[in-house]
């Protein structure tokens, strides 16, 4: 009878009419975390590739950090998916009998491709020489870990290192479309659901992609500003300014695409427009209008314009960049929230709205989501210990 009571509570939150089975929200906070995390992976990788493919020299200090960040988040990316399953122990079925018409079935393959063929390979070739050198200097467990990681290779001749460099470049070139694929595909999972007008849009993968780039650049910027001083180095302002200006352009593109999508929907004004505008002005007002658009996008844009126009002092610039990056993270998280949760708050009968009540403790609750968001940083700190993104001379040299 607890179930019935639960129903009574929920049904009081319902506005208008929903199909009876819609009383339950099926994709919870964990599915908000999932595209957020993969977005960070794709975005961080794109930032790294700017250095290798487009030869943006200023960004060199963030290159390795961006790669490690991408790896740390990618390792956690499948976890929210796994945990939200009704039967997590059966997830292997995805590899046994993948349904070729299902966007979701491709997750395992896209993920494996990206992890094995792009990220791990690139990091391996990038760090190989250093791993060999470091394993010579280290002792005990660390020595052996590094030896195993470098697959016991020993050749650090100039010719071999040159080969590494060339390979990294090739992998990056393959990596860019792969990163686009990884996150564009997450957008496609939502964009291809014709039953849901809030999701169903050809723009969805594009919107996801650019918001991914925005969030990825912002997280690397944030991490750079925090970790560099912690490791005793000095923040390279030239690099930071460059990252910020890429961030600025990415936000502008992302914003334009989202506005375009919005205007298009409003102008076409299809059957669903009434319920969607009701959704935006009531249930999603805080997370969409205030958090995502005003605080997460327009405010950081304004701040960055101010920085560019007024040539502020270094100290103040750093502070403002920091604020921007934090705001943008919050904004992009709200974006994911508004897509995933927002898309389930209205009935497919287009006659009513329902409510999502987040659990605190349960497996699909707030605490698990928070843990999943913290875990990548733990992994990142281990990775940084093992494979330092900056060499001692770099830290001291500046």
């Amino acid at each position: 009878m607890e179930a019935v009571q639960n129903f009574m509570e929920l049904s009081q939150q319902v506005v208008g009419f929903i199909y009876p089975n819609e009383i339950e929200i099926h994709w919870s906070i964990l599915i908000v975390v999932y595209p957020y995390i993969t977005g960070l992976v794709a975005g961080a990788f794109i930032l790294a590739s700017l250095v290798k493919v487009f030869n943006v020299k200023e960004l060199q200090p963030t290159y390795r950090l961006a790669l490690l960040t991408a790896l740390a988040f990618l390792l956690i990316a499948p976890l929210p998916l796994q945990l939200h399953l009704g039967r997590p122990e059966r997830s292997y079925e995805m590899f046994m009998t993948p349904n070729l018409t299902s966007a979701m079935a491709m997750f395992g393959f896209v993920y494996l491709w990206y992890l094995m063929s792009v990220l791990l390979l690139e990091i391996w070739f990038e760090y190989r020489r250093d791993m060999i050198v470091w394993s010579g200097e280290a002792t005990g467990l660390k020595k052996w870990t590094l030896k195993v990681l470098s697959l016991f290779s020993t050749d650090i001749s100039e010719k071999a290192v040159a080969f590494d460099k060339k390979t990294v470049k090739v992998i990056t070139v393959i990596g860019i479309p792969s990163a686009f694929l990884l996150h564009g595909y997450v957008g496609f999972i939502f964009g291809s659901i014709k039953a849901n007008p809030w999701w169903s849009s050809v723009m969805m993968p594009v919107v996801f992609l650019f918001s991914a780039i925005v969030s990825g650049i912002a997280i690397v910027m944030l991490l750079y500003m925090i970790i560099m001083p912690l490791r005793g180095g000095k923040i390279d302002m030239k690099c930071l300014d460059k990252v910020a200006s890429f961030l600025f352009y990415a936000v502008i593109v992302d914003f334009s695409i989202e506005v375009l999508d919005f205007i298009h929907r409003l102008y076409e004004s299809e059957e669903s427009i009434k319920i969607l505008s009701q959704l935006v002005t009531t249930k999603l007002f805080m997370s969409l209008v205030v958090l995502q658009i005003l605080l997460g996008m327009l405010l950081p844009l304004g701040i960055m314009v101010v920085i560019k126009v007024f040539k502020l002092q270094e100290e103040l610039r750093r502070l403002l960049y920091f604020v921007c990056a934090v705001l943008i993270q919050m904004g992009i998280f709200s974006t994911r929230w508004n897509v995933v949760i927002g898309g389930q708050l209205f009935s497919k009968s287009f006659r009513g709205l329902t409510t999502y009540k987040m659990e605190l403790m349960g497996i699909e609750g707030f605490l698990v989501a928070l843990t999943l968001l913290i875990l990548p940083f733990v992994i990142l700190s281990i990775l940084i210990k093992l494979l330092p993104p900056w060499k001692r001379e770099e830290l001291a040299g500046n």
């Binding site: 009876p20 089975n21 339950e24 099926h26 009704g86 079925e93 299902s102 039953a195 497919k348």
Partner: protein, 248 residues
């Protein structure tokens, strides 16, 4: 029993070899239930809005027949009540199967027209749920019914998101997707789905579209029929007669 086991082994043997997927329908059939051959049937349902009295017996029978959780949500089939007023405003409510709830909570003042709409899985010919299932656990049988393999469903709920009709839910006990099966276990025995069986007004008719003489055949011949959300191109096999344009 022996014959079934033997055939099953034959199937396992064939499919474990190089040649897969070429099982003939006859072989299939005899393994499901006695002499039932799915390839010889193709099922559909007709619903006459003008006949439905909103008694909710179908909802009750469905819950009984299919062990659907006995709570006022989670339905494989349900009945909606529409009231359209003279100002063209539309109020919709899922009817309750319990008598304690007042049956007539709408004010009939200013009522323009009103009716009941039974809903269930539309057993689409182009089912979006089947398209999106990552592991192929939900599938269309040869007789046109969409089933969920409860042994393999991983509970990702993508199908629930993809269904335009809200016909699916996550079963709270098994934690896998659940939905109307047209009472498949009854069909193979030549029985009607439970909701059709108990409908007192024959508002629901059921039939085989491969047979000319079936209640559904007459239903589709004598009525102008409509399906729900035709623009989504799902090709439902649940046909409505006298359906109001406000229904979606």
């Amino acid at each position: 029993m022996d014959r079934r086991d033997f055939l099953k082994n034959v199937c396992l043997f064939i499919s474990s070899g190089a040649f897969v997927g070429g099982l003939s329908p006859e072989v299939w059939a005899k393994m499901i239930h006695k002499d039932y051959d799915p390839a010889k049937h193709y099922y559909g349902m007709g619903i006459d809005i003008d006949r439905c009295i909103g008694c909710g017996r179908c909802m009750q029978a469905c819950k009984t027949e299919n062990d659907v959780p006995d709570v006022p949500y989670y339905f494989r089939t349900w009945v909606e009540r529409y009231v359209i007023k003279t100002d063209r405003s539309v109020t919709v409510k899922t009817i309750s199967t319990s008598l304690e709830d007042p049956a007539d909570t709408f004010v009939e003042k200013d009522m323009l027209r009103s009716f009941f709409v039974p809903k269930l899985c539309n057993q689409c010919d182009h089912p979006p749920c089947v398209q999106v299932c990552p592991v192929g656990a939900t599938f269309k049988t040869d007789d046109g019914v969409i089933l969920v393999d409860e042994k393999r469903c991983i509970g990702c709920r993508y199908c629930i998101q993809a269904c335009p009709y809200g016909a699916r839910y996550l079963h709270p006990k098994t934690r896998v997707a659940d939905k109307c099966t047209f009472c498949y276990h009854r069909l193979v025995r030549g029985l009607l789905p439970a909701c059709v069986e108990v409908c007192p007004k024959q508002a629901r008719v059921f039939g085989d579209m491969k047979s000319i003489a079936s209640p559904l055949g007459r239903f589709t011949r004598m009525n102008k029929t409509h399906v729900l959300k035709p623009s989504l191109n799902t090709d439902p096999k649940v046909y409505y007669a006298n359906l109001d344009g406000e229904v979606n």
